[in-house]
C-alpha cells in the first residue's frame, strides 16, 4: 500500500509474535495492522503476542480500542497478548481520557513482556500441551 519505511513489523520468534508499531498510524492503517496480526497468529500457531507501542505518541480511544480488540480476538484464538512500551505521557493521557487496555496485560518493555508471557504460559494458564511451551 505504502512505499517508504515500514509502518509496522510483525516478527516471529518461536511460538511468539513480536509486533512493533514504528510510527503514528491512522485508523485505516491501525485496522490493517489488527487484521494482519490476527491472521498471523493463526498462521504461525502463536501462543503469545507482544505488541510494542513505544513509538506511539498518542493512544486515543480508537487506538486503545484496537489494542483491546486484538487482545480479545487473540485470546479467543488461544494466544496471550501483552502490550509493552506505553510512554508515560501517553499513559497519563489515557487515564485522563478514561481509557484502559481492559483485560490485556501490559508490561514496561519488550523484555518484561516476554518474561510475562513465559511465566504465564509455563504456569499453564493457557491450557496447551506442556511440550509446546517454549523454553524460558
Amino acid at each position: 500500500m505504502t512505499s517508504g519505511p515500514k509502518l509496522v513489523s510483525i516478527l516471529r520468534q518461536g511460538s511468539y509474535l513480536i509486533a512493533s508499531i514504528h510510527t503514528a498510524l491512522d485508523d485505516t492503517q491501525m485496522d490493517r495492522f489488527r487484521e494482519d496480526l490476527i491472521e498471523q497468529i493463526g498462521r504461525h500457531r502463536s501462543r503469545g503476542v507482544v505488541i510494542d507501542v513505544a513509538a506511539l505518541d498518542v493512544l486515543d480511544s480508537f487506538g486503545t480500542r484496537t489494542l483491546r480488540t486484538i487482545g480479545e480476538v487473540a485470546r479467543l484464538r488461544g494466544a496471550l497478548t501483552v502490550v509493552v512500551g506505553i510512554q508515560p505521557d501517553v499513559a497519563l493521557a489515557m487515564v485522563a481520557l478514561g481509557m484502559s487496555t481492559g483485560a490485556i496485560a501490559t508490561a514496561l518493555d519488550l523484555e518484561e513482556g516476554l518474561e510475562y508471557l513465559n511465566g504465564r504460559l509455563a504456569g499453564g494458564a493457557v491450557s496447551r500441551p506442556a511440550g509446546r511451551v517454549p523454553p524460558p
Partner: protein, 377 residues
C-alpha cells in the same frame, strides 16, 4: 553614425558588375580610368584579404572600395588613384569592424522581453476595467472620493484629514476599509455573481480586511465551510494576508487527516513551552475531535491557534457541516455514542483540555472549541 551604417550596409549587397554598371550610370568615364582601376584591383584585394578572413565578405568589401574609387575617379589626380584606393579599402574595412562591434553591443536589444500579447488580452483588460469600475460604483460616495484622492491623485492622508475634518489615522483606517470593500466588490463583479446569502458580504468583508475580531463575530470560518461561493472567493482574499505563524488549519476529510491534525497541533503547541505531557493531552484531544468529524460529518476542519489573551494557551476549534448533535448535553455524557466506539470522543476530549464548549445545530453542523492554558495544573 547613421551615415556610417548606411554606407557599410551597402557592402552587404553583392555588387556584381562594378565597371559596367558605372559605365551605364556614368558614360563619360574615360577608358583609361577603367584600365587604372583594373590595375589596382589586386592590391585592394590584398589589403582587404589581410584584414577580413571571410572570403565572401572580403569580396563584397573589394567591390565596395572599387565603387567608391570609381565614383571619385574624376576628382582624383591620375597618379593618386592607387593611394586613394588603398585608403578607401582601409576605411571600408574599418567601418565594417565598427558595424560588427555596434551589432555586438546592441545584440541584446533584439530580444523581445515582452511576451507576445495573447488574442484575448484586450478583452480581459476590458473586463478587468469594467469590474473595477463596477466595484468602485458600489462604494459610498465618500469612500470613493477619498480612495481616488489618495490612490489616483496621490493626496496624502494628512491633507485628506484636514479636508474631512478628521485625523490622519482615521482617514487611513477609512481607506483600509474602502480597499477591503473594493476587493470584495471587485471579486463579485469580476465573477459576475451576487452573494447567495445576507451573510456572505459581511464575511467576505471581514476576511478582506483581515479583521480577526470581526471574523469571529460573523463566524466567518463556519460560513466558509457552508458557502461554496465564499469559500472560492475567499482564496485570493486570504492569500494576500500574511501567513500567520500562530495559527494552522487542517482540512479533515479522512483518517489520515486525524493524524496530521494532532501532529500539527502538537507541533504548534510545543512552541508555547507546553511540557510533553500536556502536548500528549492536546494531541489526544485533537485526535478525538478530528475523529468525530470524520465519523459523523465526513469532512470539516480543525484550526489550532496560539492565544495570548487572557493567558498563553492553545485553542483548538473543530468545525464541521455535518448532521449536528441533537442533544449536546447527552453527547458530552460518558458512554453516549452513536457509533461503535467507546463513547469517549467528546467527553474524553473535554477531560483532556482546560476549557471545552460544543455548539451544534441539527442539520447545520457542530463546532467544538477547546482550550488548554499554558502552565495550568
Amino acid at each position: 553614425m547613421t551615415g556610417c551604417g548606411a554606407e557599410v550596409s551597402g557592402t552587404q549587397r553583392a555588387y556584381r558588375p562594378p565597371v559596367e554598371a558605372a559605365e551605364t550610370a556614368d558614360p563619360p568615364v574615360a577608358a583609361d580610368v577603367h584600365a587604372a582601376l583594373a590595375a589596382i584591383v589586386p592590391i585592394v584585394r590584398r589589403i582587404v584579404a589581410a584584414r577580413v578572413p571571410d572570403r565572401s565578405t572580403a569580396d563584397d568589401l573589394v567591390q565596395e572600395t572599387l565603387v567608391r574609387v570609381l565614383a571619385a575617379a574624376d576628382r582624383i589626380e591620375p597618379g593618386m588613384l592607387e593611394p586613394y584606393a588603398i585608403v578607401t579599402a582601409r576605411n571600408v574595412v574599418a567601418s565594417l569592424w565598427r558595424e560588427q562591434d555596434r551589432h555586438r553591443r546592441n545584440e541584446h536589444r533584439m530580444v523581445d522581453l515582452l511576451a507576445p500579447e495573447s488574442p484575448d488580452a484586450d478583452l480581459l483588460a476590458r473586463e478587468e476595467q469594467s469590474a473595477v469600475a463596477q466595484a468602485l460604483a458600489r462604494l459610498s460616495d465618500r469612500e470613493r472620493a477619498t480612495l481616488l484622492a489618495h490612490e489616483v491623485s496621490g493626496q496624502d492622508t494628512r491633507s485628506l484629514a484636514a479636508e474631512l475634518g478628521s485625523t490622519a489615522g482615521a482617514v487611513a483606517a477609512q481607506l483600509n476599509r474602502a480597499r477591503a470593500r473594493l476587493r470584495v466588490e471587485y471579486l463579485l463583479a469580476s465573477e459576475r455573481v451576487e452573494p447567495p446569502t445576507d451573510r456572505c458580504r459581511p464575511v467576505l468583508l471581514a476576511l478582506s480586511g483581515g479583521d480577526r475580531r470581526r471574523q469571529r463575530e460573523v463566524d466567518a470560518a463556519r460560513h466558509l465551510l457552508e458557502c461554496d461561493l465564499c469559500a472560492r472567493l475567499s482564496q485570493p482574499l486570504l492569500q494576500r494576508a500574511a501567513t500567520r505563524e500562530d495559527r494552522i488549519r487542517i482540512a479533515i476529510g479522512s483518517d489520515g487527516d486525524i493524524v496530521a491534525a494532532r501532529q500539527a497541533a502538537r507541533e504548534l503547541a510545543s512552541r508555547l513551552g507546553f511540557g510533553r505531557t500536556d502536548l500528549t493531552l492536546i494531541a489526544t484531544a485533537v485526535s478525538e475531535v478530528a475523529r468525530n468529524i470524520v465519523r459523523f460529518a465526513g469532512s470539516g476542519e480543525v484550526v489550532v491557534e496560539l492565544l495570548d489573551h487572557p493567558r498563553r494557551g492553545v485553542q483548538v476549534v473543530a468545525r464541521d457541516t455535518g448532521p449536528g448533535i441533537s442533544d449536546v448535553e447527552q453527547a458530552l455524557t460518558d458512554g453516549y455514542s452513536t457509533y461503535s466506539g467507546l463513547g469517549l470522543g467528546l467527553p474524553g476530549a473535554r477531560r483532556l483540555m482546560d476549557e471545552f464548549a460544543v455548539a451544534s445545530e441539527v442539520g447545520q453542523g457542530t463546532t467544538a472549541t477547546m482550550t488548554k492554558w499554558c502552565g495550568e495544573r
